[in-house]
């Protein structure tokens, strides 16, 4: 059906789930968002998108200035979901083995044994990925894509759930390696956090140290519950009418003057998946054009390449042109 594998298309037959269950999902996820929202003030939308991404088993790229709370966001999410958290600070001399791990010779047992790298965690904060070399970047991205790492011919599975929050500093700096377009595609969404609004910032400044609160956070749901929720996403109904809309969007992105390259079929898949997760977050078992529109700027933004005349538009601005496309 329209080149999109059937497994992500839900059908009414397959899942005669009651609305109550969808509401339960909504409630438990909103509890997560609410808890996280107590620490990350005024960023409910970003939190919701991040949770949506998590739900859809995608990874997030956060592109923003230092100090707006990227790290806190990752940390808080990990805490709320009870996920094993690892932070990897990317530097120019970081090697693939530093992330993935390496075989180490053990003198006592006279044999090599594998020492897992920091990637073997459930939630990874890959801080400032653009500081490291392309080689190291691709090691991370391949692991993200395949959910496993292969070292010296042996394959090791990554833990589940596995969720990467990568951050990138947008400022052009000497000695950085911006992620190539082909790699950006691996992230389901690209978020910007932005400065907090006045009220939130005031609360932030007045309140106690965030780090302490984070330390004391209790998980809202368990990783097992999260995985159970993730299983619901593919069965959210995607009707033909919605597929038509997504196709129109893809078609537009490929023809419009704003873009040098349009959205790939993979981007289309990502869009549908993210929209399904968004619908689930909203307590529905079917996907609406509004769901697609909600996630569209974040899913499409980093996958579109601006045409020369529109180079000075930001990724979100570029993607927002797609929102003008008519719903069939």
């Amino acid at each position: 059906m329209f080149g999109i594998p059937a497994n992500i298309l839900g059908s009414a037959k397959e899942t005669p789930r009651s609305e109550a269950s969808a509401q339960d999902i909504k409630q438990s996820l909103h509890a997560v968002i609410a808890t996280a929202g107590k620490i990350i003030l005024g960023k409910d939308q970003q939190l919701k998108l991040a949770v949506c991404c998590l739900l859809a088993r995608g990874h997030v790229l956060i592109e923003d200035l230092p100090g707006v709370g990227k790290t806190t966001l990752a940390h808080v999410l990990a805490k709320c979901l009870g996920l094993h958290f690892q932070r990897i600070q990317f530097t120019s001399d970081l090697l693939p083995a530093d992330i993935l791990g390496a075989s180490v010779y053990n003198r006592n047992s006279s044999e090599f044994h594998f020492v897992p790298g920091p990637i073997f965690a459930q939630l990874i904060l890959a801080d400032e990925v653009n500081r490291t070399t392309p080689k190291t970047q691709s090691a991370l991205l391949e692991a993200m894509e395949e959910n496993q790492v292969t070292i010296e011919g042996k394959t090791y599975s990554l833990p589940v759930p596995f969720f990467v929050i990568a951050t990138q500093n947008p400022n052009y700096q000497i000695g950085t390696f911006p992620l190539p377009e082909s790699q950006l595609d691996r992230f389901l969404m690209r978020l910007e956090i932005g400065y907090p609004d006045n009220v939130s910032e005031k609360a932030l400044l007045k309140g106690e140290d965030r780090r302490d609160i984070v330390q004391n956070l209790q998980p809202v749901i368990s990783p097992e519950q999260l995985m159970a929720l993730q299983k619901h996403v593919p069965s959210v109904v995607v009707s033909d009418a919605l597929i038509d809309y997504v196709q129109t969007l893809l078609n537009f992105s490929r023809e419009a003057a704003f873009y040098r390259t349009g959205l790939s079929p993979r981007a289309g898949l990502a869009l549908v998946r993210a929209a399904q997760a968004w619908a689930l977050l909203d307590g529905r078992t079917h996907t609406l054009p509004e769901d697609v529109q909600a996630v569209l700027p974040h899913v499409a933004g980093h996958r579109l390449v601006a045409a020369p005349e529109f180079r000075d538009q930001s990724a979100l601005e570029l993607a927002s042109h797609l929102l003008k496309v008519a719903v069939p």
């Binding site: 010779y105 419009a256 069939p328």
Partner: protein
């Protein structure tokens, strides 16, 4: 499809219509923007009908009357069919990939026919007369491509586009003007000497030293005396492993500076054409190259993006006396 009316009079008429009815940007065609007139064939059809009517009257032949009237009815309703064939279409500028002067610029125009019936043989005609024709399926976004010849480098604006149709029977032409504000970057015509520019002096020192480049990590090798301490894999040493040296490589390539000032004594356009050719050659040869223009410097690099950035700089170069 249509025969244009005679040049002089309609030229003024067209200018009036364009002034009066065209707004820049994307446009949805509607009642007040669409004009319709009989074509030359419409007049021939009318004349044929008139002769048929005379014959019918003369012979008082009722079947002849019926045929004439039937065709007359067809001629009347064809106005609606022709008009409807472009009514409510939404046109906006689409992509236009850069091109080289002398080669056509392929402007793409997006025809938005969402919630519309199929349209047949819709023609787009650019200001210079180049045109294209296509069928537009129902309920679709369709991109039509207009190939417009270019002669000069720079930003080539598409200008006004006439959208017209004569479907179904060719006796009317319904048309409208749109100004999608589309433009295309036209690179200079690549021409000049084949001789490559001399490699830049700054590169010479690093020639033959690619093993010690700093660009790309390729692996480890055993430590050899004289290796830079910066490249020793200290972490492994710390774990008690043998001393290893990190190896980096850089593509085996020349580094070039393509410099405006190297080309003395020719006019601006020839210089740009020569630089354009060098950029293409350098990219083909896999060199790292940079571009130095009087008011702009593009650092060394390579790849498609880099090439286009250089070419764009050449295309939009403004000669300051």
């Amino acid at each position: 499809m249509s025969q244009q009316p005679s040049a002089g009079r309609s030229g003024a008429f067209e200018r009036f219509l364009k002034r009066r009815y065209v707004k820049p940007g994307e446009a949805r065609l509607h009642r007040r923007k669409i004009f319709i007139l009989p074509t030359y064939y419409g007049l021939v059809f009318g004349a044929t009908l008139f002769i048929m009517l005379l014959g019918a009257l003369n012979y008082n032949n009722n079947l002849a009357f019926m045929l004439t009237f039937l065709l007359g009815g067809v001629a009347l309703i064809a106005t609606y069919h022709t008009y409807r064939n472009i009514n409510r279409l939404l046109l906006r500028a689409g992509r236009c990939n850069p091109t080289f002067a002398g080669q056509p610029a392929h402007f793409r125009l997006i025809v938005d026919n969402l919630n519309g019936n199929p349209r047949y043989a819709v023609e787009l005609i650019a200001n210079d007369g180049s045109g294209t024709r296509a069928d537009i399926p129902a309920n679709s976004l369709t991109a039509l491509e207009l190939a417009v010849p270019t002669t000069r480098r720079g930003r080539h604006a598409l200008g006004l586009v006439t959208i017209q149709t004569s479907y179904p029977i060719g006796v009317y032409r319904a048309w409208s003007y749109v100004d999608p504000q589309a433009s295309c970057i036209v690179y200079p015509r690549p021409e000049g000497l084949d001789r490559a520019p001399p490699p830049s002096q700054s590169v010479g020192a690093e020639q033959g030293n690619q093993h010690h480049g700093t660009d790309d990590f390729i692996g480890f090798r055993d430590y050899a005396s004289g290796d830079s301490p910066r490249h020793i894999h200290w972490k492994a040493v710390a774990r008690g492993q043998p001393i290893m040296t990190k190896q980096f490589s850089r593509p085996e390539s020349q580094e070039l500076w393509l410099d405006w000032d190297m080309l003395q004594g020719t006019d601006t356009e020839s210089r740009l054409s020569q630089l354009c050719k060098w950029v293409l050659d350098a990219e083909d040869a896999g060199c790292r190259y940079g571009l130095r223009l009087p008011k702009q410097v593009i650092e060394q690099g390579n790849g498609e993006d880099h090439k286009h950035r250089c070419l764009e700089a050449l295309a939009l170069f403004e000669d300051v006396p």
